[in-house]
Symmetry: C2
Subunit: 140 residues, 2 copies
Amino acid sequence: MKKPQAERAGRVERAPLDPEMFDPVCPSPLVPFRVGDKWAPMILRCLQDGPRRFSELKIPLRGITSKSLTQSLRGLERAGFLAREEQHGGTERRVEYALTALGRGLLDPLDAACEWTREHWDELIEAQEAALAGAESGHR
Amino acid sequence: MKKPQAERAGRVERAPLDPEMFDPVCPSPLVPFRVGDKWAPMILRCLQDGPRRFSELKIPLRGITSKSLTQSLRGLERAGFLAREEQHGGTERRVEYALTALGRGLLDPLDAACEWTREHWDELIEAQEAALAGAESGHR
DNA sequence: TACGGCGGTATCCGATCGGAAACCAGCCAT
DNA sequence: ATGGCTGGTTTCCGATCGGATACCGCCGTA
């Protein structure tokens, strides 16, 4: 029987990340606001309920390569939005990434941006299509 | 009291854009939020008080090349955030770019993001420096 | 001993970004 | 007719982004 290491480390058990928390059909690139690089906003979201491990983050960020994840994490770390915490004391290798106070604060305007996008989703799609149609018949 | 003379065209005399409205020392790239490409947020800001001409926009966007400005404008147009209005009736060539309703709405979350950045400016700088210093002595 | 999981690096590559510079047509005033 | 202004386009180029792939040491388990 496998014993959860979380207990040994006195760690609180949190729900695992939903592998489908990011809809591949309407991914964040369509959100007109961006924070950092391609993956950064999603990483921030993943960390909002507490620290997560490298391999834990890879799950909802479907298809991300180790390199890209490392890069994004380092970038967010350099900006001071998250902290890398390496546990040496434990029995096995464990590295966790946690939002700093600054990073947590970043979630507010990020939420606002996402909310705006949700509210104007139809308009966004419609405007894009109209502009595309206009480009075909209009000034071309 | 001075009277605007261009009102027959429905055009109101507005203050010209401040050539230094974007501080080259703390430019928007330091803002962790972005809208579209490098120049897009600044262009949106330039248009918030009404339509502007191509050459008018070039002034505060110091050093922007024609190509980059055209690119950014086309991108924002494709997204439905602004509209290109070419005046054929007039005597001289005149092209104006104006925010759409959607684009104007975009200013709200953009303001929120800028406001957040202003509020946390010191922390942002400090966190960056701390992370940089930590990288030198820390996990290396 | 071998194997698998973890948390990465190193290298290569094609795509994209964005600036520099040259060029252009139409209109205007001199 | 000549030069200047407007609103671009085109070409070239170096830098950066981001994915694919291969590889790595460390640890725990079988």
